[in-house]
C-alpha cells in the first residue's frame, strides 16, 4: 500500500482551511507535478530518438494521465488522490494558469502518442516543458506559503531532496536533446547547470550547505541512502562523459530513473522524520490537556473531602470556644474554617482560580451542591451569629446540625467521584485510599468534637457511644491503610515515604487514643488532647497528599 506522503515546507498549517494532512498531500502532489513535466519531455524525446520507444510511450501515457488528473484534482478536489480544492485565491489563479498551459501541451503529447505528429509538435514540447515546470513550481510555492512555511532546515531538506527528483528527469531530458541536436548550446548549458545543481544539493544534504539552508544529515539510515545516491551519481557522471551510442543513452535513461527512485526514497525519509515530529507534538499537546484535566479533577475531590473535615472542625472549635469562655484563638479558627468552607463551596459552583477550581457544568454535581447549600446557608448564619454573640442557642444549632452537613458534604464527594470516573485498578485503589485517608482527617475532628460534648455533658451517653464508634472506625481504617485490605480495595503501601508517614500518624494516635477513651482528664491531659488532635490532623493530611501524589504507592 502506498503510504500517503507528505509535506514540503510546512509550518503552522492549521491556520488554513485544510488539515495538515490534506495540505501535505496537496503540496506533495503539486511538487511531483514538477518532476512529471520533465519526465514527459524526456519520454517524448526517447520516442523521437527511438530509444526504448515502446516503454517510453507507456510511461509517457501514464505520466500524462497522472498530471492531468492531479492538476484537475488540485483545482477541484479528488477524493481518490486525497486532494481537497484550495480556497486560496492566488493558488487557484496560479493553478488555472498552469492548466491553460497544460491543455495545448497535452494535445500535442496525445498526438505524438498516436504516432500521427509533426515536427512542430515536438518543437512545441521542447519549448514549453520548462515553462510548464516554472509555473508549476510557482504553484507549489504558493501552496507552501499558504501553510505559513517555516524556514526550518529540515523542511528545506525535504524540499530540496524532492527537487532532486525533478533534476534526475531534467538531466535525462537534456541528454536526449543533446543527442538529437549535438550542437545545441542551449541544451549543453542546461545540462551542465542541472548537473551542477544536482551535485551541489546532494552534497549539501550530506554535509550541509549554509547558502542552501541545509544542515548536515544526521540520521544514519538517511546518510546511508545518500551515500548510495552519491555512488549512483558518480557512476552516472562517468557514463555521461563517455556516452556515444544510442545504447549508452538508453543505459543513462535507465540510470536516471534509478536515481529518481533513490531520491524519492530519500525524500520520503526526510518527510517521515518531519511528519513524525509534528505528529508527536500534536499527540503531546492533546495528552497534556488530558492530564491537566485529570489533575484538576483529583484536586476537586481532595478539596471536597476536606470540606467534610471542616464541618467537624467548626463544631469542635465552637465547642472549645464555649468551653474556654470565648477564646479568641478558637473563635478565629472557627471564622477561618467557616470562610474556607463557604469559599470552597462557591468555588465548586462558580470556579475559583486561587483554589484551582473551575466552574462546574455537570448537572448532577450542581444538584448535589444545591443540597449542601440548603443546609449550609442557615448553618453559616448560626455560625456567624455565634461568632458575634456567643449564644448557647446558636451553639446548640451547630451541634445539632453538623453531622447532617457532614453527610451532605460526603454525598458531594461521592457525586464528584461518580462524575469523574477513574480507570484502572490502581487508580481505583488509589482513589479509595485517598478517600479513606481523607476521611481520617475528618474523624480526628469528629472524635474531638464528641469528646468535648461528653466533657460538657451534652447527651453524654449518646456522645460517648458515638465517640467509641468514631475511635473504632479511625483505628480500623488506619490499620487497613497500613496493612492493606483487599476487600476494601486498599493496597498495602510499599513506598517508603508513605509507610513512614502512616507510622508517624500511628505513633501519634497511640498516644492520643487513651486520652479520648479516658473518662476524667486532668487539665494537662485536656491541653495535650487539644494540641494533639490538631497535630494528628496535620500529619494525616500529609499522608493524604503523599498517597495522592507519589508515583509508586
Amino acid at each position: 500500500m502506498r503510504k500517503i506522503v507528505v509535506a514540503l515546507i510546512m509550518g503552522g498549517l492549521l491556520a488554513w482551511g485544510m488539515s495538515d494532512k490534506e495540505l501535505a498531500i496537496n503540496i506533495n502532489l503539486a511538487g511531483k507535478q514538477r518532476m512529471l513535466t520533465q519526465r514527459m519531455a524526456k519520454d517524448l524525446l526517447m520516442v523521437v530518438a527511438g530509444i526504448k520507444s515502446q516503454e517510453a510511450k507507456e510511461d509517457l501515457r501514464s505520466s500524462m494521465e497522472l498530471f492531468d488528473r492531479t492538476i484537475k484534482g488540485l483545482m477541484q478536489g479528488d477524493k481518490g488522490l486525497g486532494l481537497v480544492a484550495s480556497k486560496e485565491q492566488n493558488v487557484q489563479e496560479q493553478l488555472k494558469k498552469v492548466y491553460s498551459l497544460w491543455l495545448p501541451f497535452k494535445e500535442r503529447v496525445e498526438r505524438i502518442l498516436s504516432g500521427n505528429y509533426s515536427k512542430e509538435d515536438v518543437a512545441y514540447i521542447k519549448e514549453h516543458d520548462l515553462k510548464l515546470l516554472e509555473e508549476m513550481n510557482r504553484a507549489v510555492g504558493f501552496l507552501v506559503e499558504s501553510g505559513k512555511a517555516s524556514k526550518a532546515q529540515k523542511a528545506q531538506a525535504i524540499n530540496l531532496a524532492g527537487k532532486e527528483r525533478m533534476l534526475t528527469q531534467r538531466i535525462a531530458k537534456d541528454l536526449l536533446l543533446l543527442h538529437l541536436d549535438p550542437n545545441s548550446k542551449e541544451a549543453k548549458a542546461d545540462l551542465q547547470e542541472s548537473m551542477a545543481l544536482f551535485e551541489r544539493i546532494l552534497k549539501g544534504l550530506q554535509h550541509g550547505d549554509k547558502e542552501l539552508g541545509l544542515a548536515p544529515t544526521q540520521a544514519p539510515w538517511i546518510v546511508a541512502e545518500l551515500q548510495r545516491a552519491q555512488e549512483m551519481w558518480e557512476e552516472f557522471k562517468a557514463r555521461v562523459q563517455k556516452a556515444k551510442s544510442k545504447e549508452d543513452l538508453a543505459k543513462l535513461m535507465e540510470m536516471s530513473d534509478a536515481l529518481l527512485a533513490q531520491m524519492n526514497k530519500i525524500t520520503k525519509m526526510y518527510e517521515a522524520i518531519y511528519n513524525r515530529r509534528k505528529k508527536i507534538a500534536s499527540i503531546n499537546s492533546i495528552v497534556n490537556e488530558f492530564v491537566e484535566e485529570k489533575e484538576g479533577q483529583k484536586h476537586v475531590i481532595n478539596l471536597a473531602g476536606k470540606q467534610r473535615m471542616l464541618t467537624q472542625k467548626m463544631s469542635k472549635e465552637a465547642l472549645l470556644a464555649a468551653l474556654n469562655q470565648g477564646s479568641q484563638q478558637n473563635l478565629g479558627q472557627l471564622r477561618s474554617d467557616m470562610e474556607l468552607y463557604d469559599r470552597t463551596l462557591q468555588g465548586f459552583k462558580k470556579g475559583d482560580a486561587e483554589l484551582g477550581l473551575s466552574a462546574t457544568t455537570n448537572p448532577e454535581v450542581l444538584a448535589a451542591i444545591q443540597q449542601v447549600e440548603q443546609l449550609w446557608n442557615p448553618f453559616k448564619e448560626h455560625v456567624e451569629r455565634f461568632l458575634a454573640q456567643g449564644s448557647v442557642k446558636d451553639l446548640g444549632y451547630i451541634v445539632a446540625k453538623n453531622e447532617e452537613l457532614l453527610k451532605r458534604s460526603n454525598d458531594l464527594v461521592q457525586t464528584f467521584k461518580r462524575a469523574y470516573p477513574t480507570e484502572g485498578l490502581m487508580d481505583e485503589s488509589r482513589r479509595e485510599i485517598v478517600d479513606i485517608a481523607g476521611r481520617q482527617r475528618m474523624l480526628t475532628q469528629k472524635m474531638t468534637k464528641e469528646k468535648l460534648l461528653v466533657m460538657l455533658g451534652v447527651n453524654p451517653e449518646e456522645n460517648k457511644r458515638k465517640l467509641q464508634e468514631t475511635i473504632a472506625l479511625f483505628d480500623r481504617s488506619l490499620h487497613d491503610l497500613i496493612h492493606g485490605n483487599q476487600e476494601r480495595l486498599l493496597a498495602k503501601p510499599s513506598n517508603k515515604a508513605i509507610i513512614q508517614q502512616f507510622r508517624k500518624v500511628e505513633t501519634l494516635w497511640k498516644q492520643l487514643k487513651p486520652l479520648y477513651e479516658k473518662d476524667q482528664l486532668s487539665d494537662a491531659e485536656k491541653e495535650l488532647l487539644m494540641k494533639g488532635n490538631v497535630l494528628l490532623l496535620k500529619e494525616m493530611d500529609k499522608a493524604v497528599v503523599l498517597c495522592e501524589s507519589a508515583t509508586e504507592y
Binding site: G484, Q486, K492, P493, S494, K496
Partner: protein
C-alpha cells in the same frame, strides 16, 4: 521462611488450603491462584510469591550486562511451531500438567546451574545431551518422556508428555538450543512450550525456587 516443607503440607493438604489462608496472600500469582503445590524430588513444595512488597531482587539475576556474545538477547519465539509462554502459563502448566503426570518442566541448563537453584518440579535435561548425542540417545530420552517404539520400529508420540522448557532467561540460549534438538529428532512441536523469561523472569516475580535437592531457597 527456611522451613521444612514436608511438615507444612501435612497441615495443609494438597490444594486444600482454607479460605482464610487464601485471603492472607497479599501478593498473589493470579486472581484465582494464590499459590500452588508441586512435587520436587519427592518433597511437596509450596510455590508462591515473596509476600514482602518491598523485597528487591539483588542477586546475580539483577545483572544487566552479561557479555554478548555469547549472552545475547533472544527473539520472542524459538521456532514458528513452538508456543512461547510466560509465568502464569508456566504455573498453570505445573498445576494442570505436571501434577497430573501429563507434563514435565525441563531445566535445559548445565547440571551445576540446576543444582544451584531451579524452579520447583523441574527436571534437568542439559542442552548438551542431545547436541553431543545421536538418535539412540534421543530414543532413550524420548522413551522416558512417554514415546513408544512400534513394532515396525517407528516412533509413536501419541502418549508423549508435554514439556515446558526454560533456562536462565531472555539472554540465555540453552533452552532454544535444546528445543531445536528435540525438534530435530522428531519430538512433536505441539508438545513443547518455551518459557522464555526463565529463571530471571521467575525470580523477578519473587516466586519460590529450590536449592540443594528440594530445599526452598530462603
Amino acid at each position: 521462611m527456611k522451613r521444612i516443607l514436608a511438615a507444612c503440607w501435612i497441615v495443609v493438604a494438597l490444594f486444600g488450603a482454607t479460605k482464610e489462608e487464601d485471603e492472607m496472600v497479599l501478593v498473589r500469582i493470579t486472581k484465582d491462584i494464590p499459590y500452588i503445590y508441586v512435587d520436587h524430588k519427592g518433597t511437596k513444595i509450596k510455590v508462591m510469591r515473596i509476600q514482602d512488597p518491598g523485597h528487591l531482587l539483588l542477586d546475580d539475576y539483577s545483572k544487566t550486562s552479561r557479555p554478548c556474545p555469547p549472552f545475547c538477547i533472544h527473539p520472542i519465539s524459538v521456532d514458528k511451531r513452538i508456543k512461547t509462554i510466560a509465568t502464569v502459563e508456566m504455573i498453570e502448566f505445573m498445576r494442570d500438567k505436571v501434577n497430573s503426570g501429563k507434563g514435565f518442566v525441563i531445566d535445559a541448563r548445565l547440571p551445576h546451574w540446576y543444582e544451584l537453584e531451579t524452579i520447583p518440579s523441574a527436571i534437568n535435561l542439559p542442552f548438551t545431551l542431545l547436541e553431543k548425542g545421536d538418535k539412540e540417545v534421543a530414543k532413550k530420552l524420548f522413551k522416558l518422556f512417554g514415546m513408544e517404539v512400534k513394532a515396525d520400529g517407528s516412533w509413536d508420540f501419541s502418549k508423549a508428555k508435554e514439556l515446558a522448557i526454560f533456562c536462565n532467561g531472555v539472554w540465555c540460549d540453552q533452552s532454544p538450543r535444546l528445543i531445536r534438538q528435540l525438534l530435530k529428532y522428531g519430538y512433536p512441536a505441539d508438545k513443547i512450550l518455551y518459557y522464555r523469561n526463565g529463571m530471571q523472569g521467575w525470580k523477578l516475580l519473587g516466586l519460590t525456587t529450590v536449592v540443594e535437592k528440594g530445599k526452598v531457597k530462603k
